[in-house]
């Protein structure tokens, strides 16, 4: 049975990337703890609208942890604190207690400028993928899918790397604003699979170059990214990216 909790919520308000921004505070009363965090924010917004105010803006879409749209920094942790990897939309109010103060902030990183309130612009990630996160294959040319045998372990490992949802929690948590976990996950997925090998060197170089160009920081192996990744991507991917990149550069 659900219990009801009351708490204070501090949420970030910022009108565009140039605005300094500030916190608004509101008391929330008797929220059932089987409500999801985003549903709690829906309730908050209904209250704000009832008061004639503009709603609190945040990104969200599928609400089942796969689209990677949701991006809230809750009480000092991207996506909020859960035992296992979960996105903001999979965070439930049962994780909180009566009387808590809940602070909600946007991803803060130079690579992700704020659009409004907690909605940030993550188009930099698209640009990195565009730089080389693909195999150059044209529709209709592929050979039979079973023509290349891929050992189960390799396929499984590639799958783990491919699980990244591109939410940007890694960048948000990184004190260096580095996007290495994101980039390395894509590079790893394609470097592991035979289909991705022909372009592996070009891909690693192009994606790292784009990442640097876009102003993301240098990885200092603090592992904050993997600690907050909702899909449990690991820094093993970063080691692989380093290897692929160094190999490619030495070969030049």
């Amino acid at each position: 049975m659900a219990r009801n909790i009351s708490f204070t919520i501090k949420f970030w308000r910022q009108n565009g990337p140039k605005d300094a921004g500030h916190f608004d505070t509101r008391e929330m009363h008797d929220i059932p703890d089987d409500t999801s965090f985003l549903e709690m924010l829906d309730i908050l917004n209904e209250e704000l609208i009832a008061d004639g105010k503009e709603p609190f803006v945040f990104d969200h879409d599928c609400r089942e942890g796969i689209c990677g749209m949701c991006s809230l920094y809750i009480n000092g942790t991207p996506h909020g604190l859960t035992e296992r990897g979960a996105t903001t939309c999979q965070l439930y109010m049962r994780r909180f207690n009566d009387g808590d103060v809940i602070t909600v902030e946007p991803w803060r990183s130079a690579g992700f400028p704020v659009i409004k309130d907690c909605m940030v612009d993550r188009s930099a990630f698209d640009k990195i993928i565009q730089a080389g996160g693909y195999t150059s294959i044209r529709a209709g040319q592929a050979q039979d899918a079973n023509a290349i045998l891929i050992p189960k372990q390799v396929a499984d490992e590639a799958m783990d790397c491919a699980t990244c949802i591109g939410c940007g929690a890694c960048v948000a948590a990184c004190k260096n604003g580095s996007a290495m976990l994101f980039v390395s996950s894509k590079v790893s997925q394609l470097a592991l699979l035979p289909q991705g090998k022909p372009e592996a060197a070009r891909r690693a170089k192009a994606m790292v170059k784009k990442m640097d160009e876009l102003g993301f920081g240098n990885c200092t192996n603090t592992r904050a990214c993997e600690a907050v990744c909702p899909k449990n991507e690991t820094v093993i991917n970063i080691a692989r990216l380093n290897r692929e990149f160094i190999k490619a550069k030495l070969a030049d």
Partner: protein, 659 residues
């Protein structure tokens, strides 16, 4: 007056697509470089179409409402994608996939389209593997398969419980390659508000930049919409929060026929509704039905005690459990198609056997498979779904809960049907062209391939088939017409007029200045839809529903409140535009349901059922595609046109999943 001509090519069903491709008109490579195509949407259909058209040389303008093409809702598909590869050597073939799909669709799909879909299904798998989609593999390195509802073969390819994600990321990566090559121009956080028609042809769109709030004009030689379904009409559905039918409804307003709106799929395995604040329903993959067994108590008193919270599912021993799907449908058991499984659950709950406090849930139990396969194997197959379930409900389905007479019982999941997919959509011909020349619809947003019910793992197949292998061909048959090659400047009066229309609507909505929030009205709409136009429909209920929908529109038009202005980002304004179209869509669904006096697939009219409670089709009178034409205003009833169905290859019969 619309003209319904399906343009199905002549010849036997298995040769139609080959013949079509052999004789269609093509655009030569040099001319492709001069032609622009707008693709709205970046899901499986949109992204694959945009990238394929880009690869061919067309200039593509690609729009999405999310911040990145990778977030389109195709990403949430869990279970898998069908293909007739017959890698398992279990007797699969293109014909069998075709047959299963037509049968699963309760004989309301167009034969020729479905055959083409089955034909290209194999190319999709090849294409995706080449892109680096990490499908599950066997130890020998071959691709693995699982079974899905409505089929007796294992033909579903999967990537853990994230197949949609992996396929979308594959399409997204191809799309990204084309963006890099300069062939696709991407517009993220843009929403299509209207289609612009010049001399009877779709020649552009009006899109709203969601960040700046500005309306912008885009012109092209053809427009493709791939904007998904209208499931969110019901408010609570498995769709993402942003899914909407505004683009499709706007095409309908401009003269595109809307087909079979009443065919709405209700997915049997979703997490039940828990409270009034709920914003969406979470799907538990259909793949769970491979190893999970669905049941309710045999005894009504057990159900009563479950509803009161006095006992738990694991307290009920094997002999008191009613595995009603296995009982009613011995041949397919827990793997009957979705519509059948959903109705069966509703039937049990209506009889009072529901197992949670609302009485609207049944159990999905893994005790038997955990005992048979071991917990490790079960977790390997469904671990992420178990985690997801526990995160939401606080119950771990992999946890041993009870032991009665030496039999181990694990916590069962609770599930209930929820709106999931819409088979209906913009009417298209064999070329995927709507009744407006130059306007194409692909993916879930068209009506084409699933008839009255879609089989599991077929949505991904259809989206990618349309985008990679069908539309890029058929659109050329249209674009080859040189009369259409002139560039249309966006300062033409048609564009100005369309933009003015959208602007006026936005002003109207902002100036209502009433008291109700968009969500509160949307919830009310959803409630009406679920109660009156939901799983079990009746003539009286539908009529009442239509009356209530009128009232909702009245309330919307007079008492809506949108904070803020039209400048800049205004989430509430965008939601209000969506809601305006959901209301129209709701009426369309109800009208179609009312006109179709039979039960088939996702459309179940309680008046038309057999004594055993199975759907009763009426092939004599309703063997057609219902196409609706807009009559100039939202509050005027639409007019029905019929596209008769012609079956050559398949003998139409009653669906039978019993033996």
């Amino acid at each position: 007056m619309i003209k319904i001509d399906s343009k199905i090519p002549a010849g036997p069903v298995s040769e139609k697509w080959t013949n079509y491709k052999a004789h269609q008109r093509l655009v030569n490579p040099k001319n492709k470089l001069k032609l622009d195509v707008i693709v709205v949407g970046t899901g499986l259909a949109g992204a694959s179409a945009a990238s394929s058209l880009g690869e061919m040389g067309f200039n593509v303008l690609n729009f999405c409402i999310q911040d990145s093409p990778r977030r389109a809702h195709s990403i949430a598909a869990q279970g898998g994608i069908n293909a007739a590869k017959n890698y398992q050597n279990d007797g699969d073939s293109v014909y069998r996939l075709f047959y299963d799909t037509v049968k699963g669709g309760d004989y309301r799909a167009r034969e020729a389209n479905v055959y083409r879909l089955a034909e290209v299904s194999n190319n999709i798998i090849d294409q995706c593997v080449a892109q680096g989609v990490p499908f599950a593999r066997e130890y020998g390195g071959m691709l693995a398969n699982r079974s899905f509802g409505g089929a007796q073969v294992s033909r579903t390819f999967y990537a853990k419980g994230q197949t949609g994600q992996q396929l979308l990321l594959g399409a997204y990566s191809s799309l990204s390659a084309q963006v890099q090559a300069g062939k696709v121009k991407l517009f993220t956080r843009y929403e299509m508000e209207d289609v612009v028609i010049v001399d009877g042809h779709a020649r552009g769109i009006i899109a709203k930049n969601l960040v700046t709030g500005k309306l912008e004009r885009f012109s092209a030689n053809a427009v493709v919409i791939a904007t998904g379904g209208y499931g969110n009409t019901y408010f609570l559905s498995t769709n993402a929060m942003g899914c909407n039918c505004t683009a499709a409804v706007q095409c309908y307003r401009k003269g595109a026929a809307f087909a079979n709106p009443s065919y709405v799929q209700i997915h049997p395995t979703c997490i039940p509704v828990h409270g009034n604040n709920q914003s969406k329903l979470t799907l538990m993959s259909e793949s769970l039905r491979n190893d999970g067994r669905i049941w309710v108590p045999k005894k009504l008193e057990d159900a009563k005690r479950l509803q009161a919270g006095e006992i738990k599912g694991s307290d009920i021993p094997e002999e008191d459990r009613d595995y009603y799907l296995e009982r009613r449908y011995p041949a397919f058991g827990n793997l009957v198609p979705r519509d059948v499984a959903s109705r069966a659950a509703k039937e049990r709950c209506d009889k009072g056997f529901g197992v949670n406090n609302t009485g609207l849930a049944v159990f999905l139990d893994f005790s038997e498979s955990i005992e048979r396969l071991g917990i490790d194997v079960v977790l390997q197959r469904y671990g992420n779904l178990f985690d997801m379930y526990e995160e939401i409900t606080d119950v771990n389905p992999g946890e041993l809960a009870n032991e009665i007479n030496g039999v181990k019982y694990y916590n069962p999941m609770m599930i209930f049907p929820a709106i999931h997919y819409t088979m209906g959509g913009i009417w298209v011909d064999y070329e995927l062209q709507t009744t407006i020349p130059g306007l194409f619809a692909i993916g879930e947003c068209n009506f084409s391939d699933h008839g009255a019910n879609r089989l599991g793992a077929s949505a991904l197949m259809q989206g990618l088939a349309d985008g990679y292998f069908v539309l890029p061909y058929t659109i050329q048959n249209y674009l080859a017409d040189q009369a259409l090659w002139a560039k249309i400047p966006t300062d033409r009066p048609e564009f100005a007029e369309a933009e003015k229309g959208v602007e006026a609507e936005i002003d109207r909505l902002l100036n209502i200045k009433g008291k109700r929030s968009v969500d509160s009205l949307h919830k009310e709409l959803g409630h009406i839809m679920w109660e009156h136009v939901g799983m079990g429909r009746t003539e009286a209920g539908l009529k009442e529903g239509l009356e209530l929908l009128k009232k909702i529109r009245q309330e919307f038009n007079t008492n809506l409140f949108i904070p803020g202005t039209k400048e800049g980002l205004n989430v509430e304004l965008d939601k209000a535009i969506h809601l305006r179209d959901f209301i129209l869509m709701g009426e369309l669904v109800a009208n179609d349901a009312l006109s179709r006096n039979e039960s088939c697939g996702g459309h179940f009219r309680e008046e038309y059922q057999t004594e055993e409670g199975e759907a009763k089709r009426d092939d004599e009178n309703y063997f057609y595609v219902g196409c609706w034409e807009y009559q100039g205003a939202d509050d005027v009833a639409p007019v029905l046109y019929k596209e008769p169905l012609e079956y050559e290859a398949i003998k139409v019969q009653t669906r039978n999943y019993k033996n």
